[in-house]
């Protein structure tokens, strides 16, 4: 075990612990942009710098292993100065349009500017301008808001394995890009949206959710995805009784299968819920045409016909196709209905299709 003093508090951590984690254990809230517990370390945003006695420079706590007897200060004048200046530098390049930004409420740049009282930037000057191109229907890429934390690049490689994006050029011309800065659709991108999940600012957002609501306006309902059999958990974002988006919880307790990772269908394929083509009333066919009916009428019609067939041709002349898409409870009821009420084992579903 190593002994450290963090903000005056003595703590013990096992060898190999990073300073960031030790500071968090000591109750310090360290700001980070590039750090992501699920991704390889970058050590590049320098927001997590702390002051360690005897060290000339500030140390990025996310990549500094703890050493015995370190005396650490996480909110010293020097760290505050560094963080403020970094925020101002990022603000100087950032397209500030918080009024309409999708990420408001979940934007780390905004949160930290608030925390450190950074209203505007003393370093405002030329702004980079990165063309916003991408006709894909899923992911909005606005690199004028990018802060170059590279979490998207790492998530694309390490979580999804698509390796569609990387950093191109260098210095302040550096930008996240596909090969030859082409469209995502022409790259190896699979539109999983993991980049959106890890983006700490408004650079990457969902086009499907655009304009529908921001994080403080919606509730998140944890549920299981309706598509393939992997069983990913996801959060339906609900505002005014409407699903306005999908996010995911990366905690394995809530997301044991996928730890927040989703695919294009899970993340972007939810808007059929509110499709105007949804069936909203029972229908009965008369003379080849459907007409709306009340539940009472429709159920009566169906039940009476079923009973008549059973009477005439026996229970085995009736079958049910239950569903691989409805719940266990509904499947249970479906087979019970066929077996107990109709009296046949003619129940199956599309397991083979």
């Amino acid at each position: 075990m190593l002994k450290l003093t963090i903000n005056g508090q003595e703590i013990e951590v096992p060898k190999g612990t990073m300073l960031l984690s030790a500071c968090q254990q000591a109750g310090a809230d360290i700001p980070t942009f590039c750090y992501d517990p699920d991704l390889k370390l970058a050590g590049s945003c320098r927001m997590c710098v702390v002051e360690v006695e005897g060290r000339r420079n500030l140390l990025a706590s996310c990549v500094t292993p703890c050493e015995n007897n370190m005396v650490v200060s996480t909110e010293s004048d020097r760290t505050t100065e560094a963080r403020k200046v970094i925020l101002e530098l990022l603000l100087a390049r950032h397209k500030v349009e918080c009024m309409t930004c999708e990420k408001v409420g979940m934007c780390k740049l905004q949160d930290y500017c608030y925390r450190y009282g950074v209203k505007d930037s003393r370093f405002a000057g030329e702004k980079g301008h990165f063309a916003m191109e991408d006709p894909n229907p899923f992911i909005e890429r606005d690199y004028d808001k990018c802060i170059m934390c590279t979490r998207c690049v790492r998530a694309c490689e390490e979580i999804t394995g698509a390796q569609a994006i990387n950093v191109k050029e260098r210095g302040h011309h550096a930008k996240i890009s596909t090969i030859f800065d082409g469209k995502l659709a022409d790259s190896t991108c699979v539109f999983c949206g993991q980049c959106i999940m890890v983006c700490p600012v408004g650079a990457l957002t969902s086009k499907v959710s655009m304009g529908k609501g921001r994080s403080m306006e919606y509730d998140r309902v944890l549920t299981t995805c309706t598509y393939c059999g992997t069983g990913c958990t996801l959060e339906l974002n609900v505002k005014d009784d409407q699903v306005v988006g999908v996010t995911s919880n990366r905690d394995a307790t809530y997301s044991p299968v996928n730890k927040g990772a989703l695919c294009v269908k899970g993340r972007f394929g939810w808007d059929f819920i509110h499709s105007p083509e949804r069936l909203t009333t029972p229908l009965i066919k008369e003379n080849g045409q459907f007409r709306p009916a009340s539940w009472e009428e429709a159920m009566d019609f169906a039940a009476n016909k079923l009973k008549a067939i059973k009477e005439k041709d026996g229970p085995d002349s009736i079958a049910m196709f239950s569903s691989a898409r409805v719940t266990n409870e509904e499947n249970y009821l479906a087979q019970k209905m066929m077996r107990a009420a109709i009296g046949t084992n003619n129940v199956d579903h599309c397991a083979r299709l």
Partner: protein, 529 residues
Amino acid sequence: MTNSIGELGTDATAIFLIGTNTTENHPVIGYKIKKNVRENGAKLVVADPRRIDLAEMADVYMQFRPGTDVALLNGMMNVIINEGLMDKEFVENRTEGFEAVKQVVEKYTPEMVSVITGVPAEDIKKAARIYAEAEAGSLCYAMGLTQHTTGTDNVKSACNLAMLTGNLGRPGTGVNPLRGQNNVQGACDMGALPVSYPAYQAVSADANREKFEQAWGVKLSPNNGCTLTAAINKAHHGELKGLYVLGENPVLSDPDSHHVIEALEKLDLLIVQDIFLTETAQLADVVLPGVTWAEKDGTFSNTERRVQRVRKAVSSPGDARQDWEILVDMTNRLGYACSYDSPEDIFEEIRKVTPSYAGITYARIDQTGLHWPCPNEEHPGTPILHAEKFSRGLGLFHAIEFQEAFELPDEEYPLILSTGRSLFHYHTGTMTRKAVALDVHQPENVVQVSPNKAAELGIIDGEKVRLTTRRGSIELKAQVTDILNDQVVFTFFHFSEASANVLTQAEKLDPVAGIPEYKVCAARLEKIV
């Protein structure tokens, strides 16, 4: 799956994929496989008629002729036995019937199998060695293995291979079917099968029937029911009069659509309960509007047997009604009285008659789902099956000979047509075709054809072509791609405008499982002039 999904990303040291385009059909499982290969150096063997994404990073990729799975697997077993790579201890202690298998696979030399499958003998050897020598070898498959007239044989062969190499019962091993639909596992678990009650309790066994008769307080039929595909045939013959379809779309999903439509039209009564007016619902006599998963509470069981919660997030539109309420209402109207307060109330009844679910409660799975079997409330669930012994005691080997697919190419229909799914759509497209972004991104069907074949037929990429089989014909765009060889074409079944199942055959199914042969039929591709 005998094992859990997470193990594919962490524990498996070799992964053998056969008939699964994992990154497209189970993307999140695909991520885990990629990560394991890239970061932990896990070995990867891919067998698929198309050079799928994962084939690019595979140590061995075997592009085999569709329908020759048994030959390929027997060939691998031949190598394993001859090179002394089998797990003798496992075979001796945990299995029976090995000698018969040994006799059968003896003639399946890599050279002989190479002729059948088109895979170089050397690759078969390499693949066999990687899987057999792995500390933890996981075998995963999906519909590519099962949707054949020999589907059951294919799966048994895969099990043979796993038992032969002792790749079962430990972390990172297993025979792992990757199931295609959110709750296909649960539907099976719940007894939505013609031969079993919940938890696979056979309806033909008197004891089981008595148990359910007692639980439900009613006399039950001792006869096995008919499968979905058989039901369609029976309807066609006029033996089946009434059909209740809950959230299914057989017009698009079942083989030979013309045949399906004819059958449905012959019914006296077709009830469809769904969220959209699907192609099947359009043929119904009465349509009952149910709700989407976002509007209901309940549970789904995923491919690794993990039972997880589904939660209601929003209200349903108009008069659409909870599916469970519709079913309860109907059951009562049919003369069997029952009542439930909530899905949880139903689940409580499920627990009582489903031993594998007995220990699972809504409270226990509030945060993290549980893997069945979970026999009591103290049980932690079972991520890995067959750890100590198989359900039947000893694992049973099945000696299986290779048989050709039902419909092979001939002069008139010279190509092999295989069908499947795309990353961007799901099943019959009922949901994804109405998800705007997905449908904008991939709005129509394509047929994939090799550059050579396209050139031979004078077809250019993106051109509209005609794809024809003995059942019918569809028109769709050609996608020229080198991921398949010159004898094979591939298309998707999500699109009603150019529906793949107009083309597939329903004449011959797998004799045991009744699964249709979606992966092989004879077809002709033509330029439209």
